[in-house]
């Protein structure tokens, strides 16, 4: 029987880890993800789970040891945030290219500098091209549900790729909300036992992992990895269907909220989608036809699906919670605009930057953006692209 409870996002993910009870978890503390290894260690200390925990000396080592354990044939994971993810960047690439189906519980936090502990997506967006599947949560329930779906996606024979489960630092990780938890047996059955095909500790069949590869072979390895990423889209949807059968909660590549007849859509990821939905309801009450497209799966990027979902509206606000310093908008905006163009969906697409380093994002901000889109469509004007929302001042105060 599902159980109703109240939990923070970190507690929810730690609880999911307890239920999955993986074989090995190396981890290193970093705010705001620290509670996850803390809570797991406490579960282990009290005999509530028996995962082997490795208190490594850095995040580079946590991902290195995760790869070692996974290669050895053990279901493995780690957790981190921000600079921790940046430090393990090299190893993220190796986890994916060595086709390790491990999992990383990421609690999104901005990257230094200035050093700041609050949420934005610069850590996971910085790792967007490392070959990991990336799934984002709006709230604690989704963080929990996404984690439970992670191993069945990663370990699928047509995927064999690592999965990053992302939730927003503090906003989701520390805020306590109601949650519905599956019972342990349901989770165990859903996740199943790990049966690796090739692994170091296979007594009958030694294997070498991590070769030097000359140019005659390396390009094929990269193409195979790309095919696996493409394959994962269908697997993510299949696992979501199976999850709906056990939980009653439905997931896709993205969620469309009141978009059927919408003139204007806000495309957004993570916890701010909740704010956007509230503002959307408010504006709908006033007769404005607006909707929200909440992207759940950023890797693989569902380009054609997004373009199709936006094909009926007049304008879209693409909300980036990550500055990538290319002088032309955030990473989400780049990829969505490319998707729209390639699929010949030539609507008004406006890039916005919001919520960097924990800056509040409010319903008023959403009203303002929708009003701006509406006016630009009605008056046939071009809104300012790549505008920072909620910025106090620009440049150095004089």
């Amino acid at each position: 029987m599902p159980k109703k409870d109240r939990m923070s996002g970190n507690e929810a993910v730690a609880y999911a880890i307890k239920q999955v009870n993986p074989d090995v978890m190396p981890a290193f503390p970093i705010t705001p993800s620290t509670e996850i290894p803390q809570l797991v260690s406490t579960y282990i200390a009290n005999g509530q789970m028996d995962t082997e925990f490795i208190p490594v000396e850095s995040e580079h080592s946590s991902m290195s040891a995760t790869i070692g354990a996974e290669a050895a044939g053990a279901r493995s994971l780690t957790a981190t945030s921000s600079c921790g993810l940046a430090l393990m960047w090299e190893e993220l690439l190796l986890a994916a290219s060595n086709r390790m189906p491990c999992v990383l519980a990421l609690v999104n936090r901005t990257l230094s500098g200035p050093i700041n502990i609050n949420c934005d997506h610069s850590d996971s967006m910085g790792a967007r091209d490392t070959g990991w599947i990336q799934i984002y949560a709006e709230d604690n329930q989704e963080a929990y549900d996404n984690f439970i779906q992670a191993y069945p996606i990663a370990e699928d024979k047509n995927v064999h790729l690592p999965v990053m489960i992302c939730q927003d630092g503090f906003i989701t990780s520390h805020a306590v909300q109601n949650i519905e938890l599956l019972d342990d047996d349901t989770v165990k059955d859903f996740v199943g036992t790990y049966e690796p095909e090739e692994y170091l500790l296979n007594p009958g069949k030694p294997v070498s992992v991590g070769p030097y590869s000359i140019s005659n072979y390396a390009m094929e390895a990269k193409k195979n990895q790309e095919i696996a990423m493409e394959n994962s889209k269908e697997v993510i949807l299949r696992v979501a269907d199976a999850f709906e059968r056990v939980s009653g909660r439905r997931y896709g590549l993205f969620e469309e909220y009141r978009t059927e007849d919408a003139d204007h859509i806000m495309l957004i990821m993570g916890s701010a989608a909740g704010t956007a939905k509230q503002a959307c309801d408010d504006l709908r009450d006033k007769g404005m036809k607006v909707g929200v497209l909440k992207l759940r799966v950023f890797r693989p990027f569902p380009a054609a699906e997004i373009a199709k979902a936006l094909s009926g509206c007049k304008s879209v606000a693409i909300m980036d919670r990550c500055e990538c310093y290319n002088g032309n908008g955030g990473p989400l905006s780049m990829e969505v605009c490319s998707a729209l163009y390639k699929n010949k969906v030539l609507i008004k697409a406006v890039s916005y930057m919001y919520g960097l380093a924990g800056r509040d994002f409010t319903v008023e901000n959403v009203y303002e953006i929708f009003n701006e889109l509406d006016a630009s469509v009605k008056n046939d004007t071009e809104p300012e692209q790549y505008r920072y929302i909620g910025l106090r001042s620009q440049g150095v105060p004089g």
Binding site: P26, E57, A65, E70, A72, L201, V209, I214
Partner: protein, 312 residues
């Protein structure tokens, strides 16, 4: 049991022929020697930091390793094998490996991957006490990238980042004493050895390292013909001179007890070791006599310090 060279050499090779390491390379001799100490029937997972050994023994689609083998990156052989060893304990505990199957965990790294970039990862693995052996094949420079200095490079060595020139006599610093540093981690077994005396010292220490429960560290001086510039046939002679001059003393630290394994009857002057190697050629030029005196003084200081630790 007494050491029987013939019997030990007749054990099946666990690093197969056909790899692409240089003739006269100390690293492969060291690796084969270490792996001979595995008992018959015991399996191993071999780890490897990026370096000559890795790129020359596992070039897709060929592997020279008879045992399971993992290369991850340059700076994380310690952490990677930590994960493998922990996975072994997890799978054993959960009954997912047959009870009679035994694995040992041995990782190899050059001095660049061990003394320098992999130092933190090694230190972490040793402190946590994983049941593994980290073997450094110390050839005293980044040989794979073309002979750049490392913190294991001896003073005055000519390397491509400490080149000898009109204003330079090679590397200006002494080498880091890594075996002592790892011993200070309070691990059960640390030893320093090289390729000498019918490989008995290497064999005995490898066996102890592999079969002592907990973390162990072996520092093996493994000459490199490209970087040291010697005739490839002379590798064993150079190793012998390393110990006879007390440049590379044979010692072990067994559960905290420092033990000197070999004391030459007559300590040879350091020149005997240096003159065999092109990287020290400049030390024998007229006017550089004081550099040899400095080198000898440093060897003597370290030797006396080691003897003091062993006599305590």
């Amino acid at each position: 049991m007494s050491y029987d060279l013939k019997q030990v050499m007749n054990k099946p090779e666990r690093l197969a022929v056909g790899h692409r390491m240089c003739a006269g390379c100390g690293a492969t001799i060291a690796v084969r020697g270490v792996l001979r100490a595995l008992h018959e029937g015991d399996r191993a997972v071999i780890g490897n930091a990026t370096g000559c050994l890795e790129v020359s023994t596992f070039m897709y689609p060929y592997t020279a390793w008879e045992d399971s083998y993992i290369h991850n990156a340059f700076e994380n052989a310690g952490a990677t094998l930590s994960g493998v060893e922990t996975a072994y304990r997890a799978l054993k505990k959960r009954g997912r490996l047959p009870a009679d199957v035994n694995y040992k965990f041995i990782t190899f790294g050059g001095d660049g991957g061990t003394y320098d970039i992999g130092f933190q990862s090694l230190s972490g693995a040793m402190e946590r006490g994983h049941d593994m052996v980290y073997v450094c094949y110390d050839n005293g420079a980044y040989m794979n990238t073309g002979i750049q200095r490392s913190s294991a490079t001896p003073m005055f060595a000519d390397t491509t980042t400490t080149p000898v020139g009109t204003q330079s006599n090679g590397k200006m610093q002494n080498r880091k004493d890594l075996a002592a540093i790892i011993a200070e981690h309070d691990v059960p077994y640390v030893a320093q050895t090289t390729l000498t005396q019918n490989f008995k010292d290497l064999y005995v220490k490898s066996e102890k390292a592999i079969y002592t429960e907990g973390a162990a560290f072996l520092n093996v001086m493994a000459p490199c013909p490209r970087g040291w510039r010697y005739d490839t046939a002379e590798v064993m002679k150079i190793c012998r001179l390393g110990i006879e001059t007390c440049y590379w003393p044979l010692f072990e630290v067994d559960h905290g007890k420092w033990i000197l394994n070999y004391e030459p009857k007559k300590k040879l002057p350091i020149e005997d070791f240096l003159k065999e190697q092109g990287r020290f050629k400049h030390l024998f030029k007229k006017g550089n006599e004081d550099l040899l005196v400095q080198f000898q003084a440093e060897v003597d200081r370290r030797w006396e310090d080691l003897k003091y630790r062993c006599e305590r």
